[in-house]
């Protein structure tokens, strides 16, 4: 390749290596030479584009995994097994601080699900958050039930041995005894024994906030209605889980508020809303303060809930029907707002969501979540194809549309999210045995579906609190 006579100066300027004299010489040459200016502009543009890729962060827990591998003396061999081992070595590496993880279904072995680590970047994930809320709580409920029952058995002078089989053969509360079956069987399984010996699980069980949360009727009701395993084993949901880095989103208070807003939960199960949420025009508009202010007006909400009014306003101008309102008129004049409502997906959502989309747009928490840094994360999350796929998934929609879940999320007043962000809790549900049990152990699954566990939790609540 032939070098241009001024290449050294141009590249030196790009790289910041020119002396003042050289810089002055280049400035003079640029001023006199249009072709050189054009060449410089091209180089600068390329430089900008390359720099625009930005820094890359290794996945969360990378250092721990490396040190674990160093200790083992084994480089990564790109096997899922190796990644699992690294994860275990990482110990308390928090679930939501990881950049990515894959929940890979093992179709052949019958283990159902197993955890593996992955490395892609990404933003927060609504699907993941909700899913883990349910999964974690379901697991924790079982454990808490067992823990307190086991403690009581010992106190009552039952066997008091540590062996899994003997531990729970003592007298049980009558309500539990009457319904004992799968849950009881699980309590005596090796899987449970392994779980109980895990220090992270023990820490979880000692967490008072978690116990309080689990004891709320809303949470218990939610757990009793959700077919957790079916959702977890769904391909689209798994994929969404696997690729979404929850990171800051999970622990962000503003996002948490948006997530458990009634309007958000109601809208999530609607396919047309999900499609609209993916529209760039929506993200741009919601980040605009004027649009946000306009959306809080009741008149505008009425307008947005009426697809015909929206169309009329766009075709004939705002002075028609419902649009003949000053707030609506002002809003429609905003170019970002107009771009939003002229988006085809927006119209579909207005027509198909029975007002849920309009309610979501005017939800203060939802609007706040779109602002600033976390807004970018939130928008990215909603726009992720994987999250969209999960949203469109029937199982997930059913989960999101479950009234009990909505009540539980809203009723926990932030405790749910605080509990989920607890490192011990994260570590506990990250336990390989736990995941295996959650995804594939028939006893465990049966126990999750068995109302015995919930009945026992109610009983414990009555005694403990």
């Amino acid at each position: 390749m032939n070098e241009h006579p001024h290449d050294e100066l141009l590249h030196g300027a790009l790289d910041g290596t020119l002396s003042e004299a050289q810089a002055e010489r280049l400035r003079a040459q640029l001023a006199a030479d249009a072709a050189l200016r054009e060449r410089a502009a091209g180089l600068w543009r390329v430089n900008e584009m390359v720099d625009g890729l930005g820094p890359a962060e290794p996945p969360g827990g990378f250092v721990d995994r490396v040190m674990g591998a160093v200790a083992e003396g084994a480089p990564s061999r790109r096997t899922w097994l190796r990644r699992c081992a690294n994860r275990v070595a990482a110990g308390r590496d928090q679930l939501f601080n990881r950049r990515v993880r894959h929940l890979e279904r093992d179709n052949g072995s019958g283990d159902g699900l197993r955890w593996t680590t992955g490395m892609a970047g990404g933003g927060g994930n609504v699907a993941k958050k909700t899913l883990w809320a349910v999964a974690g709580l379901a697991v924790a409920t079982i454990l808490v039930v067992v823990y307190f029952n086991g403690t009581r058995s010992v106190d009552q002078g039952a066997q008091g041995t540590i062996g899994a089989a003997d531990r729970y053969r003592g007298a049980q509360p009558s309500t539990v005894s009457a319904k004992e079956g799968n849950a009881q069987k699980f309590l005596q399984s090796d899987t449970f024994d392994r779980l109980l010996k895990d220090k992270n699980v023990r820490a979880l069980m000692a967490d008072k906030a978690m116990c309080e949360l689990l004891a709320t009727p809303e949470v218990q009701l939610a757990l009793s209605k959700v077919d957790l395993v079916r959702v977890l084993q769904d391909d689209a949901v798994e994929l969404a889980i696997s690729r979404a880095g929850i990171q800051a989103a999970m622990q962000d208070e503003v996002l948490a508020a948006a997530m458990h807003s009634e309007n958000f939960l109601a809208a999530m199960g609607d396919e047309t809303v999900n499609a609209a949420l993916n529209a760039t025009s929506l993200h741009v508009a919601l980040a605009d303060e004027d649009v946000q202010a306009a959306l809080l007006k009741t008149s505008l909400r009425t307008f947005l809930a009426d697809a015909e009014a929206v169309q009329a306003a766009l075709k004939k101008g705002p002075k028609s029907g419902l649009a003949a309102n000053a707030d609506v008129e002002m809003a429609v004049k905003n170019t970002k707002f107009k771009a939003m409502i002229t988006d085809a997906s927006f119209e579909a959502a207005v027509r198909g969501s029975k007002g849920r989309f309009a309610n979501l747009l005017t939800d203060v928490g939802f609007q706040r979540a779109f602002k600033g840094e976390q807004g970018r994360l939130f928008a990215a999350t909603l726009a992720s194809p994987l999250v969209q796929a999960a949203f469109k998934n029937d199982n997930f929609k059913a989960l999101m549309a479950d009234d009990a879940l909505a009540v539980a999320m809203k009723g926990s007043h932030g405790k749910l999210f605080a509990a989920l962000a607890d490192p011990d809790f994260m570590a506990a549900i990250h336990n390989v045995d736990m995941m295996r049990a959650l995804g594939g152990d028939p006893d465990f699954q049966a126990a999750l579906r068995d109302s015995t566990a919930l009945a026992a939790a109610s009983l414990i609540r009555g005694q403990k609190y």
Binding site: V50, P55, V63, V100, A120
Partner: protein
């Protein structure tokens, strides 16, 4: 992206490792994880593979610490190991993973779809550069090394570094011509 290299400190930590103090390796991993991962990512274009390559580089580096020559910078030595790991990864690569927006910086997603496409195009263009040229671009732009440091790291003359960098930028310009015209 740039990072500060404290050669003396590196040597001290390496010495401690060689005396059996494995924990002394942790600060080295913490110090170089970002730059190694970043370089691997831009060299390979796949986050999983980049993570594997970076992790393997550290592990193999630890295993080969006795061969480290203190006259050279630790990063340069580690980088050579990383390059070999990247080559290994590419050798066993089964299917080229399509480049997606996930390769872009974490904050890109709020921007327009077009900008995300540009980033994907830039990453793709990087992967189409001849390996020696890609190497200098990555070290300059994503490791923040000076010409001199790149020369030492890659093991070529500084003049060669400059020549490769100029050529690489020209090639990138050609590969990204349609995007350059967008502005």
């Amino acid at each position: 992206m740039s990072f500060t290299v404290d050669a003396d400190d590196d040597v001290v930590l390496v010495e401690r490792c060689l005396r059996g103090d494995m924990d002394a390796f942790r600060p080295l991993v913490e110090r170089y994880q970002r730059v190694l991962f970043g370089v691997a990512l831009r060299m390979l274009g796949d986050e999983d593979e980049a993570t594997d390559a970076a992790q393997n580089a550290f592990v193999r580096g630890y295993q080969k610490l006795k061969t480290y020559d203190h006259d050279h910078k630790f990063f340069s030595w580690l980088y050579r190991i990383l390059v070999n790991e990247c080559l290994n990864v590419r050798r066993v690569r089964r299917v080229r993973v399509p480049l997606g927006v996930s390769l872009a910086a974490p904050d890109d997603t709020h921007r327009t779809a077009e900008q995300a496409e540009i980033r994907a195009a830039v990453q793709s263009a990087l992967l189409r550069l001849p390996a020696p040229n890609r190497e200098v671009v990555v070290l300059r732009h994503f490791a923040g090394l000076s010409y001199h440091e790149i020369a030492e790291t890659v093991g070529v003359a500084e003049k060669t570094v400059k020549s490769r960098l100029y050529e690489a930028r020209q090639q990138l310009g050609d590969l990204l011509q349609c995007w350059r015209a967008e502005r």
